[in-house]
Subunit: 231 residues, 4 copies
């Protein structure tokens, strides 16, 4: 699987983590849920286009790499709905002046994203039964009642998708791990504005916190657990 | 400052983050505290030695890079004590069989670290007045009363040191950021088993969550805020 | 002060808590904030009226005792705004079908409160600068970013008002105490549907978690700390 | 069941809560755990004796009512162990000088409890496999990794016992409720220093957060769910 971070993580990096005994598979439990994090126009741009054009739409947009991930997220979403897997949407709530704080100091431009940036593209838009979690901070667990919904649903495993790999996705993965959920990150369903950063964060998550796999392998493995026959 | 991650983060990566408006300085408030995270023999090895030898002491040891960081942490610690800056020690609590969970699935070797691995080297050992925070998960905020101590002390800023850059340090930095503390990470006082991973995590934190600076610059800036005259 | 719970808490109850050393004053720090919890029509009824009529408006309404408290909350609110004390509104978010959970099992009627019940009466309505915290659970700290705002504002003390004394007020007081904020509960600015329950919960909070005082004494003590001269 | 709080809660109090639709049964899920909170000599006294003598052992001791509850907790503990129900011990960690905070302001005597007070009486002492959760604050969820153990164990229901009814028990019940665990409080397995306070807190929990029942009814209902045949 090392081609996921090839050209950035060196063989010696990999050897060291192997030596330390990291990176074993976690596996999935029997009751997964799908999280779709921050897949709003603000992380994509209004239409598929290169990064340098997308960033003109919204400073936080990733462009083409995001839209490619949207295709895989849409596939997972369709599968999850057909299989009765709960779908939750942690998403960025519009910033109000009192939200500035350290975030506004670190990334001032993030305070001025236009209203349309907070909308969801139709390919992965929530339906009425999906659980909406507006959030003000990176992790979907921080300052939201996510944990309460997951416990109420009896969820033991999380499939975590969306944006950015190094930001809201990673921090949610770390919190999910600390809470003892079994986490899978489909690498082609998460995205970031920098390829280097995307790759190293996938490596970190695969070594320490989560199973990292492709969307198609993930769907196959959900089927083998008995999910999806209803479709 | 880009030499901190040179050879890994590309100029185009940096350009993209700049384009998106990330990486502004956060600054420090008026009431900092020092966190020393997981600086125990288990992350270092019993004595300074290369990674491949240290890992024989404890699978989780980083070796020489850790001992180099210990020198900078010791400097910060001496300064903090002389200046009346509170010092807190989030640290790994010995693993009991019921602690296995997802962690034990992902990194089985972490469950078998010898008892001495949980001790602190004398260079950075806690004193009686320092606040001890045994923890079971990466972030110093997760499953510990850290936040309560910080609020009781009126802390508004955190200096975060220790190990690993990509693990317990980063997850603590992200939680501190979400809680609206102003965070500084002295890059020469944190360490990791992989240089690539260390660099990219410093970049991520500098772009999104924290100010990243050297120990000597940090001490100078604390002095300029009026700290340390007592020494 | 024992007349606050007279007729319910016995002299022997008071003697036992005194014997155990509970109930000392906490005092206020230098940077308070005002929380107004759940003061929406759903806890009041649409107009001042006795409990048995208010409960016809909304099953969760307390009636006259709530409207009496609203007068004191309005007084504190006017004072806080004139004095530059931050005001935060933790409030019940409209219930969606997926919010049922254990709450819906315990109190099924709470799921069907009419939309107008979630609105704020004009006497204590939020202004644009006030921090809004929609919540799904009793404590204002649970599943909301409240702590992050408080840390960002440098708050060390909380004035907690609203409804119900035994429910969302008390659970917020306990969490505030655990987080090491200094809490004051003005007894005439909190309300409940049962007088017995109201009194015993005031006693519990006064013994263990908070200072319990009248609104007028609280304003006087804020003035003596230097607040309010601007008004 | 109203005899549980008779003489304190009035028929009109009960009528009002009924009118508002509170107090429906929650029921138990399929995977309970037992919490034994703060059943240490410090909440009991060294031997069974009246309150006024017990309080001489430790200011925080409840005396005879605690020892009576210990008998019921011991019964639940034996049943849980025989039935494979996980047992967790949230308990008060010895107070260090830096733990004072608001707690030390409110209840100064709590800082000086003698070391033996933190030990467990043999009737309900933990075994090696039981999960230990030292804590610094009332709720077993605050500043501890409790939630992580519960999720790892797939727990959906909690049986909450110990001391005090109005303090650590109640705050843990409220947090468990907010997290969407189904909570049962056996009224004869929790205790407090004041009978009035004990009764009203049982009423509050029964109305809003938990099922309140006797230990013997609880064991019968666990048997009817299939637990305990192994015994």
């Amino acid at each position: 699987m090392s081609e996921l971070w090839s050209g950035v993580i060196t063989p010696d990096d990999e050897r060291r983590y192997a030596r330390a005994g990291f990176g074993h598979p976690v596996g999935m439990g029997s009751n997964p849920a799908l999280l779709i994090i921050d897949v709003q126009y603000r992380t994509l741009g209004n239409t598929p286009k290169p990064f340098d054009e997308a960033v003109e739409d919204y400073s936080t947009a990733c462009g083409d790499v995001g839209w490619t991930a949207v295709d895989h997220i849409a596939e997972l979403l369709a599968f999850s709905r057909s299989a009765g897997i709960p779908v939750l949407y942690p998403h960025v709530a519009p910033k109000l002046s009192y939200d500035s704080g350290v975030l506004g100091a670190k990334v001032p431009s993030i305070m001025g994203v236009a209203a349309k940036g907070y909308e969801f593209p139709p390919e992965v838009a929530p339906l009425e039964q999906d659980i909406m979690l507006p959030k003000k901070h990176p992790s979907a667990f921080f300052g939201t009642p996510l944990i309460s919904y997951l416990i109420g649903l009896g969820v033991d495993s999380l499939i975590i998708t969306g944006c950015s790999t190094s930001g809201c996705v990673r921090s949610t993965v770390v919190d999910a791990f600390a809470n003892n959920f079994r986490v899978t990150v489909p690498f082609d369903a998460v995205y970031d504005r920098s390829e280097t950063v995307h790759k190293v964060n996938l490596f970190d998550m695969a070594q320490k916190y989560a199973d990292v796999t492709s969307t198609s392998e993930l769907i196959a493995s959900l089927r083998s657990l008995g999910y999806g026959e209803k479709s």
